[in-house]
């Protein structure tokens, strides 16, 4: 036992600072804290030197706040939101379709779609859109909270 403690003490003394800066091994896929804005699109050219990894990396998608989306997407969504506020349904729907093509994984697209259908009292479609928003949001994200709140509020 004494030997173990001595050995540990020696190891700790040597590695105290160095170990702390080493990356954690065996990060659980899907929990990597990688903002969407920093994710790079996969290079489409094959890299023969890069061996296939054993565990598929699963960066969190759309975890980043709205501002991390391309400005064009944010701009279209803002217009959709404004059109909804002004009850310009046709225009809102057009902007939402456009935003959905540009960013089909962005939770805000579906949150606004849900608002659109809720305003038209199409409850089933509204529910489906809020559920889609939830499925694309981190459980504790603002989008998830908003979607849950609206789902609870549906008749």
């Amino acid at each position: 036992m004494v030997l173990r403690v001595m050995l540990l003490g020696w190891v700790l003394a040597v590695l105290l600072s160095g170990c702390a800066s080493q990356p954690e091994q065996g990060v659980v896929p899907g929990l990597a804290d990688e903002p969407a804005a920093e994710r790079r699109k996969a290079d489409t050219q094959p890299k023969p030197s890069a061996p296939p990894v054993e565990i598929p990396a699963q960066p969190e998608v759309n975890a980043a706040p709205d501002g991390a989306q391309p400005p064009a997407v944010t701009s279209v969504l803002d217009r959709a939101s404004a059109a909804l506020t002004l009850q310009q349904w046709k225009q809102a729907s057009r902007y939402l379709d456009q935003a959905q093509r540009m960013a089909p994984r962005h939770p805000r697209v579906y949150l606004l779609y849900g608002d659109y259908y809720r305003a038209l009292q199409k409850w089933a479609q509204a529910r489906a859109m809020y559920q889609r928003c939830l499925s694309l949001s981190q459980p504790d994200s603002e989008w998830a909270h908003q979607a849950r709140f609206r789902l609870a509020d549906l008749p």
């Binding site: 540990l8 190891v11 080493q22 091994q25 065996g26 659980v28 896929p29 899907g30 929990l31 790079r40 699109k41 996969a42 290079d43 489409t44 050219q45 094959p46 890299k47 890069a50 061996p51 296939p52 990894v53 054993e54 565990i55 598929p56 990396a57 699963q58 960066p59 969190e60 998608v61 759309n62 975890a63 989306q69 391309p70 400005p71 064009a72 997407v73 701009s75 279209v76 729907s93 057009r94 939402l96 379709d97 456009q98 959905q100 093509r101 540009m102 089909p104 994984r105 779609y113 479609q125 489906a128 859109m129 559920q131 889609r132 939830l134 499925s135 694309l136 949001s137 981190q138 459980p139």
Partner: protein, 736 residues
């Protein structure tokens, strides 16, 4: 005499009614025009230079050193400058616009415009076809204000110098023509005005008789009495026959400029306008592609007449007359460029629109076809089929946008231009192991019974039916391992564990989940369903896999975004419709296992072509005696389904991996896209699993792999590391 006068009067009234009825009604039967999706460019959009240049080529943009007008682009390495043409979209008029941006690692960055604040720009959509009446006519209707003044000048100088002075008939011109013809002893000159020419083409037959000439003159006078000169000239400009593309007649200058020069009439130079006017006299005789010298001489005559009548200066005449003919080698009209996709569009349209409306109202159909994806699919299929060196192999394939349900490409034959049997939509073939994800999904929807590490028996069995028939499934390699995990059963596509799992769940339960995923039609009620004895078309498989790729949300596949009138007024819009049909937790586990298929299972050969960082999920499918080779898989952006086989159902020697997967990975290698990235539902947790010992273990253990779990991991033993640690630090950590 009175009777004669009455008859003549009645006849004139009849002619007058004819003139007004047609001129004021629908002048032409305008075919529906079908367009690909408009390319949207904005910062952050995935786009590669090769695809962009290809699309610019389809749209006949010219690469230049310096932009001088619409329809041009300039490329300097990764930097692009495009002068977009003016066009109409369902969103409204899009003005011509100069934009510049850079393609950095196949992503658009720095989009800007010197003309306007632009964070988003849309190019005009590529026209992929039309829905034509029996007499196929192509026509782009222009308003008078849209017609270049020089074209009108060329027209008047050549065809009717006194157009704005006469009343429809020009006695002077007739007398001059008669004199010229008498002197020559044959017909060398016509005396018809533009109005008479219009009447002849618009109202009358091609018969050459005095009676027709009289009618023509009377109707020309009536036309001029009722309508102004500009309206008549506008109709002439849109009606005149100017060429033939296969079985399609080219009418009007708007379409002719695209047919001969690949550009709008507005973009044509003087020599090109003069050539179009030159062709009027005989589109076949003066066909500039077949008889360039003859056409050039006639063009120069038009230019000379313009100069002589003061429309252009001598210098301009000399310069343009010396210019060569620059006519496109091949006509732009390629109605049959994407026949398999057009087939899908027509089926969807005909379910909602009357055929007559489609053939005559000039509707504009805005589709979801992405020419870049379509051409990539065609290229990949061509390369793979050429490599297999078997001319009898056939293919059907569909590409869909994940999460949008938009069909972006369809391939119905090994020859992409073939217009016959469309295998993507109509070849229903047994799907083999493509059905397995449905079985595993059904199991994973019961978290109290199954999880990814649930053991499945991998021991042969025999099922006996009441009629004496037996069913004895076996694994592809004929071996069995005793027991495997559920995840391994799927990723390695093992038949025995899959069949056992399916029987545990019950065939009706598997049928039900297939219906939930989007499979419709008659379904095999026997256990052989569990190993894919169910015929589906590639399009039907796409519906089924789209639900899996879209996190359990069912959405109808769409080939059309919007239909508008010829004037741009919206008739129908097809927005996304979704319904959540599968719990997100079960889909998450399934997608995870399907990624394992690609990393370590039957689909791993895809990574010989794909970059390691591109996460994809998929499933191979092979049927008995290698008759059908299937693959269905998806990234973050695209879902692709490919079938390969023979029309006579003969064996192919191809597995799903050696056939269809090769086409699929060639496509996915080439497309710029985002990888599949899943959002972990709150109820899913990861455990660490030692596959060798089939126990749960600690993250620090060597060989430990994370596995997602929904609910609890049933009765799984947990053991400490035995095969060492992943690092010294891990070992150190285990002490505390």
């Amino acid at each position: 005499m009175l009777i004669l006068l009455l008859v003549v009067g009645a006849w004139l009234i009849y002619l007058d009614a004819q003139v007004r009825y047609k001129f004021e009604g629908k002048r032409w039967a305008l075919p529906a025009q079908v367009y690909a999706r408009a390319l949207e460019i904005y910062d952050g959009r995935a786009l590669n230079a090769r695809s962009l240049e290809h699309e610019l080529g389809l749209l006949h943009y010219r690469a230049v050193a310096r932009l001088t007008g619409p329809g041009q682009y300039r490329r300097q390495g990764a930097q692009f400058e495009i002068w977009r043409r003016r066009h109409t979209l369902p969103d409204g008029e899009q003005e011509d616009l100069r934009v510049s941006f850079r393609l950095q690692n196949d992503v658009v960055v720095g989009l800007s415009s010197p003309d306007a604040a632009a964070s988003f720009v849309t190019l005009e959509p590529f026209k992929i076809g039309g829905i034509y009446p029996a007499s196929q006519e192509e026509r782009e209707v222009l308003r008078y204000e849209e017609v270049p003044e020089l074209l009108i000048a060329a027209l008047l100088a050549t065809e009717d110098q006194h157009y704005f002075e006469h009343w429809g008939v020009s006695p002077v011109a007739i007398a001059r023509a008669m004199w010229a013809n008498l002197r020559a002893g044959r017909v060398v000159q016509g005396g018809s005005t533009l109005t008479q020419q219009l009447v002849k083409n618009f109202y009358l037959s091609r018969e050459r008789s005095l009676w027709r000439k009289l009618n023509e003159a009377a109707m020309a006078l009536m036309l001029e009495a009722h309508y102004d000169k500009q309206a008549i000239l506008e109709t002439y400009i849109n009606d005149i026959f100017l060429g033939q593309a296969g079985n399609t007649a080219i009418h009007g200058f708007g379409m002719a400029s695209r047919f001969y020069f690949g550009k709008t009439l507005e973009e044509c130079h003087l020599d090109e306008l003069a050539l179009l006017v030159a062709i009027i006299k005989g589109p076949s005789y003066y066909n500039p592609r077949r008889y360039p010298e003859r056409a050039k001489a006639r063009r120069n005559l038009v230019l000379r007449l313009m100069y002589e009548q003061g429309y252009i200066a001598e210098g301009a005449y000399q310069a343009w007359a010396a210019s060569p003919l620059e006519v496109m080698a091949r006509p732009q009209f390629q109605h049959d460029r994407y026949p398999a996709f057009m087939d899908l569009v027509k089926r969807q349209l005909r379910a909602e629109y009357d055929d007559e409306v489609l053939r005559s109202e000039g509707l504009r159909i805005y589709t979801t076809l992405d020419p870049q994806v379509q051409e990539t699919l065609e290229r990949a299929a061509g390369l793979t089929l050429a490599g297999l060196q078997d001319d009898t192999l056939q293919i059907g394939a569909v590409m869909v946008g994940v999460g949008t349900g938009e069909v972006q490409a369809v391939l119905g034959d090994r020859d992409p231009r073939y217009q016959g049997f469309n295998r993507a939509l109509d070849a229903a073939r047994p799907v083999g192991s493509l059905i397995k994800p449905a079985i595993y999904l059904r199991a994973l929807m019961e978290p109290d019974r199954y999880h990814l590490l649930s053991p499945l028996q991998d021991q042969p069995f025999r099922l006996e039916f009441s009629n004496g028939d037996t069913w004895t499934p076996s694994n592809f390699d004929g071996e069995s391992e005793g027991a495997v995990s559920l995840m391994s059963g799927l990723s390695r596509s093992l038949n025995i564990p899959s069949a056992r799992l399916g029987l545990e769940l019950g065939v009706p339960a598997v049928q039900a989940i297939l219906r939930t995923l989007g499979v419709s039609g008659e379904m095999n009620p026997y256990p052989s369903l569990l190993l894919g004895a169910q015929s589906l078309t590639p399009f039907e498989v796409s519906k089924f896999y789209q639900t899996i790729a879209s996190n359990g949300f069912n959405m109808p596949l769409r080939a059309i975004r919007e239909v508008t009138t010829a004037e741009g007024e919206s008739v129908s819009r097809y927005s996304i419709e979704i319904a959540q049909v599968i719990p997100p937790e079960a889909i998450y586990l399934l997608q995870y296992a399907m990624q394992q298929t690609m990393r370590t299972g039957t689909g791993k050969s895809a990574y010989r072509k794909l970059p390691a960082e591109l996460n994809v999920a998929g499933k191979t499918g092979t049927t008995n005696d290698f008759r059908d080779s299937w693959f269905a898989g998806f990234s973050g952006d695209y879902l692709g389904v490919v079938w390969m086989g023979r029309d006579d159902n003969a064996p192919t020697r191809l597995t799903g991996a050696s056939g269809a997967l090769q086409v699929w990975s060639e496509v996915f290698r080439r497309l710029p896209q985002y990888p599949l990235s899943m959002v972990k539902p709150g109820a899913v947790e990861f455990v660490w699993y030692d596959a060798e010992r089939q126990v749960l273990t600690d993250p620090e253990c060597r060989g430990a792999e994370p596995v997602p779990m929904w609910g609890r991991a049933h009765h799984m033993p947990h053991e400490a590391c035995r095969n060492g640690f992943t690092s010294f630090r891990s070992w150190l950590k285990s002490w505390f």
